[in-house]
């Protein structure tokens, strides 16, 4: 028998009488034995506009009901009304802490759909940008997690380093955050003069800062007390819940898309994947901290390959627009420019799925074309969405103070979750 979701939706709202929560919280909440407490959507430790309805027995959490959708902006629906290239700026706004990863997932899917090659230099620039955005994103994660647990100074140090990376992004794409730098077929423009020197300066400056964070936190007894054995996620449960990225590797599952199904030439770089053992908050913390050093390793290797000049965007003029300088000399370039910026390009009536390893986990992009210049359906599988779903499995049975540590350790971004 088919259930009409509309009918159920109108019955089960969280406002009004308790009857509507029957079945979602335990029976003890009905009699008032346990307390229902609203956490968020304005609570600073929920890292955005996440609302959690908590059922508490004293200070112990019995049930968690996450409520998301406050930041839903209909990005998937909006891309359906745009050409493929014009969808890129919208993807920036999903995971606003690592916009480049979203660009990358979308562009990989588009490139797969129309079978477009990406020149080698563009791939190297992409790798540098992706790893820099991983560092920038991890800086926000580390700062906010430490802040949530009372370590104020780490937050300030982390944002100082993040600002450095954002300046590099401004240099390369013209914007600090929403750069839309990675485009189908390559990148928007070549790296500017002095960029290599600036990045080299950063990779020389940064490892010492990671040492500082380690000194502050890794052996800190208060930090250990708050994180050891808290929020344990068993590997089997993590896989079943669809958890990915460093949160999954903290449980000891060795799955990194950069190694497993490499994209953008990641198979040619030499780097390790930090693994946890117990799946608690501390192991997830150590995994992400280790990733910072690995990112630096990758950027160092990529910088050495950038010395050779080359194409930064595909030469296939049916899909990528010509250089500005060509417009004055070539009629064909003008036609291509006009055609691509007004109509865009056609893509087959087929479906593809591409995924990248974002700082948070697997971002998957599913595109179904129509045969015309607009997609029929674009769907993003985002790591924060799966991780918020997994929070009840990690936090139920813990104290309410541990919940803050657990939310911080899975590194959620609500824009990423609600899209």
């Amino acid at each position: 028998m088919a259930v009409n979701p509309n009918e159920l939706a109108t019955k089960a709202t969280w406002e009004g009488n308790l009857e509507q929560l029957r079945g979602l919280v335990s029976e003890r909440a009905m009699t008032g034995e346990t307390m229902l407490l609203n956490m968020g959507p304005h609570h600073p430790s929920t890292h955005g506009v996440l609302r959690l309805l908590l059922e508490l027995d004293g200070e112990e959490i019995v049930t968690i009901l996450p409520d998301i959708g406050f930041l839903h902006t209909g990005i998937e629906k909006n891309i359906e009304d745009k050409n493929y290239e014009k969808g890129v700026p919208l993807t920036d706004r999903m995971d606003y802490l690592s916009p480049m990863s979203n660009n990358m997932a979308f562009c990989l899917a588009v490139e797969k759909l129309v079978d477009l090659d990406v020149p080698e230099r563009a791939q190297i620039i992409r790798v540098i940008c992706l790893e820099l955005s991983r560092i920038a994103s991890h800086m926000v994660w580390l700062g906010t997690q430490a802040l949530d647990m009372g370590a104020m100074s780490v937050f300030l140090y982390c944002f100082r380093e993040r600002e450095y990376v954002l300046r590099l992004f401004e240099m390369v794409s013209g914007q600090r955050m929403m750069g839309s730098y990675i485009r189908p077929g390559g990148v928007w423009r070549d790296i500017p003069d002095g960029f290599i020197e600036e990045v080299t300066q950063f990779v020389n400056y940064f490892p010492a800062k990671v040492d500082d964070y380690e000194t502050l936190l890794v052996n800190n007894p208060i930090w250990k007390d708050r994180t050891f054995g808290v929020g344990i996620l068993e590997p089997e449960l993590a896989l079943s819940l669809g958890v990915s990225g460093a949160s999954l590797r903290g449980s000891g599952v060795n799955w990194d898309i950069r190694k497993a199904t490499p994209y953008s030439g990641y198979e040619t770089y030499n780097f390790d994947i930090p693994l946890g053992e117990h799946g608690d908050v501390y192991d997830r913390f150590m995994c992400r901290l280790g990733e910072l050093r690995e990112s630096i390793k990758i950027i160092n290797q990529a910088l050495k390959r950038l010395t050779k000049k080359g194409e930064f965007r595909s030469k296939n003029r049916k899909f990528t627009f010509p250089m500005r300088s060509e417009l004055g000399q070539s009629m064909e370039a003008v036609i291509h420019h006009f055609k691509l910026w007004t109509y865009g390009f056609d893509a087959p009536n087929e479906e593809v799925y591409a995924s990248v390893e974002s700082p948070r986990g697997e971002i998957g992009c599913y595109i179904h074309g129509t045969g015309g210049n607009k997609p029929r359906r674009v769907h993003f599988k985002t790591p924060s969405f799966m991780h918020i779903q997994a929070i009840p499995a990690m936090a139920e049975g813990h104290m309410i103070a541990d919940l803050v540590a657990i939310i911080g350790s899975v590194d959620i971004v609500l824009g990423d979750c609600d899209r």
Binding site: V3, N6, K77, N349, E351, Y353, S355, R376, F385, Q389
Partner: protein, 181 residues
């Protein structure tokens, strides 16, 4: 540890449950197996638990609306639900697809196989209006509880109002988000 050799998922599933497989297609090295929606849970259990396949990770569930295109042999019904599976052991992906009719889009839930399917399915209930039979908590996920309509359907207007003419006044009124009170 001995790892059994990888086997071809298409052949294995055609041998084991030939009645469930409707069609197989390949595009850009991505294999899609179109299956009977009623048998989706058995198909998923088979793909996850068989030696040599072990698709142990559910990457994504997404739904497609083929409106207003006429149904073809390729896309026989209005709605399609695509499941993206990944096998960590053999490092490969597979797409399972089921087509659902416009009048009564119902498919069994796969929460018994992967718990993570819960929210992915709720998102589709909310956005596409597809019913997942046996879903324990089919409330709306992203949109407000009192929202009318399903935004990701292709006949749902994107911000702007569709112009109503006498021939389509009823058709468009059906999908307009009128106030309920």
């Amino acid at each position: 540890m001995h790892i059994p050799p990888a086997i071809d998922p298409v052949k294995a599933i055609q041998e084991k449950m030939p009645e469930a497989v409707l069609r197989v297609k390949t595009f850009r090295d991505e294999t899609t197996i179109v299956v009977d929606p009623a048998k989706i849970v058995n198909v998923m259990l088979f793909l996850r638990n068989t030696n040599g396949l072990v698709y142990n990770f559910l990457s994504d569930i997404s739904a497609v609306d083929y409106y207003p295109d006429p149904t073809t042999e390729e896309n026989p019904e209005r709605f399609g639900v695509a499941y993206h599976l990944y096998s960590m052991l053999y490092n490969r992906r597979l797409r399972i697809k089921a087509y659902l009719p416009e009048e009564d889009p119902v498919i069994p839930t796969i929460i018994p196989v992967w718990e993570g399917a819960n929210w992915l399915e709720r998102e589709i209930i909310d956005m596409m209006g597809i019913t997942f039979e046996g879903h324990p908590d089919p409330r709306r996920l992203l949109m407000p509880e009192d929202w009318n309509g399903h935004p990701h359907r292709r006949d749902y207007p994107l911000g702007k109002e569709t112009v109503q003419f006498s021939f389509n006044v009823e058709e468009i009124s059906k999908f307009k988000p009128f106030a309920t009170e």
